[in-house]
Amino acid sequence: MTVATPRDLEPQLQQPLQPKGWLRYFSFSVDHKVIGLQYLVCGFFFYLVGGLLAGAIRTELATPLSDFMPRDTYNEVLTLHGTVMIFLWIVPVVNGAFGNYLIPFYVGARDMAFPRLNAVAFWMIPPAGFLLISSYFLAGAAAQSGWTAYPPLSLTTPAAGQVVWILSVLLLGGSSIFGAVNFIATVLKMRRPGLKMMQLPMYCWAMLGTSLLVVLSTPVLAGVLILLSFDIIAHTGFFNPTLGGNVVVYQHLFWFYSHPAVYIMVLPAFGLVSEILPVHARKPLFGYTTMVYSIMGIVFLGLIVWAHHMFTSGTPPWMRLFFTIATSFIAVPTGIKFFNWLATLWGGKIALNSAMLFSCGFILNFVFGGITGITLAQVPFDIHVHDTYYVVGHFHYIVYGGTVFVIFASLYHWYPKFTGRLLNEDLGRLHFLLTFIGFNLCFLPQHWLGLNGMPRRVAEYDPTFTTLNQVSSVGALLMAISTLPLLVNVVVTAFQGKRAGDNPWNALTAEWLTSSPPPVENWKGEAPLVTEPYGYGRAQEPKAPTLEAAR
């Protein structure tokens, strides 16, 4: 693989054109750090929106009757909640925010490979998001067919809302593809001279794998949604059974994207955890090489398991068998990663700070969700629990308990890099405690509800399920409260938090080998060559003492 030279000319050319100060964040900036933070803040805004929608869902479900909002509004809320959380919060933040901020540092570059495309990719998101949300007001009704938009339901619910939904998801998918192309090019082609692939921090590998998934599968989603919009607008019959269409074809194409999408949401989180754990455990990442192979294994297997979402859709028996086995085998590379993280912690010097607490919360939650995932992969098991609250429990353990926990861990870990100030640890731990308890209270009971007869996506349910649903709603309330310490912490710290210094964690990766926050060109001088991003325990001389790092 050839190695490109860092393009140090670029920033100087751009600088005069870029606004300074906080205005940068509202501009078409091409600085990868500005874009990363734009993704982060924009994503967090939509997290709050999605959270409000979730609150509405849990309020409705606090009683067995459909008494809080009209039934079709409930379906709109449910559809928006799923779509916002996936396409406007998780995907943009674990990929766009941290990817843009960190990858150029990790490869030793001064910016991404295509800075302007990068800015375009970000600026597609706010309009798409507002389009989606405003469909409720503009089109008279938002989409009501769930984030999966299965026809024929999506062909019969109010058309305008569904079409706006498709448009918005197409924009977000496009943004995601632009981002992925950029990550692939940057990791493969922008490495500083002397930096080998197998010396890259694990997050680079995770983003490479994720971006491959995005590039291979998102176009399929775009295609299927365009066909769906034809069915709605032009009354074609691709998925309309009364016109000879086939609805199961839609499901295959949809899940061909949307199963990989779950790895698009979680592989980057795996990468981020692999950066955080070694720093706060003061030990090298265990099993670097197997970690790389397991990422690539997950990417490959992730592409051939989609039909496990369709075990009850009348798929032929051989297909169910194949997809059961392929899906189960994802547990092997995934298991390798978890054992390697545990081995990284083992014998280390662990700082139990907020970043570490959230990372460990991630491990616990994800292992639980992974185990329920294995059960779901078994056809006979899935036939009972498919489309029930058991599945809702499973994927929230993965997506919230996994990825969102990692986003929080990353926030505590990199906030000093973004701002030069350390987030308050007491508030951080309070945030962790409330989130962890609220989360488990909210989603653990849902497994039992699903097993015992509560289907998903309902506004009313059998009164025998009332108590556990109320427990779940209380958990949701705790989760809502848990955002308060976070918000206070982030805002107050930005103005009067404790100064972090350049490298508060004594970390070895390249983003810490510059000032915090970093200069536009990332390093004042030449980019450092970091060949051992996890070389903890190597240097014999004691490191410079730091303030709160030991907490």
Binding site: V247, P284, R538
Partner: protein
């Protein structure tokens, strides 16, 4: 030298004991803790045995990993002000081979076992329309069905679950066509059950204990799914795809039949009951609900 060996042996014993007690805990939790509703069909016990195995393995894995994690956090916690790093351990090939191989073996076992379960539940039974039609013609000499069976051969039957292989005494004694066919129509927002033999149409599903039932399902508008938690059975009903679902009820009672696929605003209200009757009661129900002309 001897000291080191003693430590090693002690470590080995501790590990073995820990693993054994973990396995035992997992097994006890998995087999004793019941998370499922009552079983009311022949494939429910089969399902439940799979559930117990998965629950046991899952408990062992989860507990094991949690204990190692929490132990590490306590045992290897950095003291206030401590600045030293941990040891520069970068990997250990044998260890990594072990934790690749063990999950692979477990997964392989689980996969084969659940395939076997699925086969026993009737999931691998071919459902081609030929076989179905054959049965159909034999069972239904009635006038109404003649017309129906005229159109059946041209239709392909999709997925679903066929008759279970080991449904026990009940089905073997009634092997020659005692299958009770019921036509199910799913629409927004109700299931309609039609009994072709008795020409009864009902909003509830009534079935006799121990007799194999074959639901021939159709959807009129959007996708619905027919789910009876106590039967551990669910099948999507997809417009344009006639689907078959077979089961044999084993426990008298009234159970919910629930739509499990989002089908519109009243999806949550799309539920009815399955009533499993003793054989005599079922005959009574048939008599009471038979349309007047055919009651002689």
């Amino acid at each position: 030298m001897r000291m080191a060996r003693a430590v090693k042996i002690r470590a080995a014993i501790t590990t073995a004991l820990a693993t054994a007690s973990l396995g035992l805990t997992g097994f006890l939790v998995g087999t004793r803790v019941n998370l499922l509703p009552v079983d009311a069909s022949t494939n429910a016990p089969t399902y439940d045995s799979l559930f117990k195995v998965l629950f046991s393995i899952g408990t062992m894995l989860f507990l094991g990993i949690s204990i190692v994690l929490i132990y590490s956090l306590v045992r290897f916690r950095r003291n206030e002000g401590e600045l030293a790093d941990g040891p520069p351990l970068e990997g250990n090939l044998p260890l990594e081979i072990v934790w690749t191989a063990i999950p692979a073996v477990v997964i392989l076992f689980v996969g084969i076992y659940s395939y076997d379960i699925y086969d026993r539940m009737g999931g691998m039974t071919p459902l081609d329309h030929g076989a179905l039609h054959h049965q159909h013609a034999m069972d239904t000499p009635s006038h109404t069905m003649e017309a129906k069976s005229m159109e059946m051969p041209s239709e392909r039957v999709w997925g679903g679950i066929g008759p279970a292989i080991d449904t026990g005494v009940a089905s073997t004694s009634s092997a020659s066509g005692a299958v009770l066919p019921v036509e199910v129509t799913a629409m927004q927002f109700a299931f309609i059950f039609h009994y072709p033999e008795a020409d009864i149409t009902s909003g509830e599903l009534h079935v006799p204990l121990g007799q194999p039932v074959e639901l021939r399902m159709k959807a009129l508008d959007v996708i619905h799914a027919f789910w009876v938690p106590q039967f551990r059975l669910k099948q999507d009903v997809i417009p344009g795809q006639p689907t078959v679902l077979s089961f044999t009820a084993t426990r008298p009672g009234t159970y919910p039949a629930i739509c499990a696929e989002l089908c519109g605003p009243y999806h949550g209200g799309m539920r009815t009951s399955v009533v499993v009757h003793e054989v005599d009661d079922y005959q009574t129900w048939l008599q009471q609900n038979r349309p007047a002309p055919s009651s002689t």
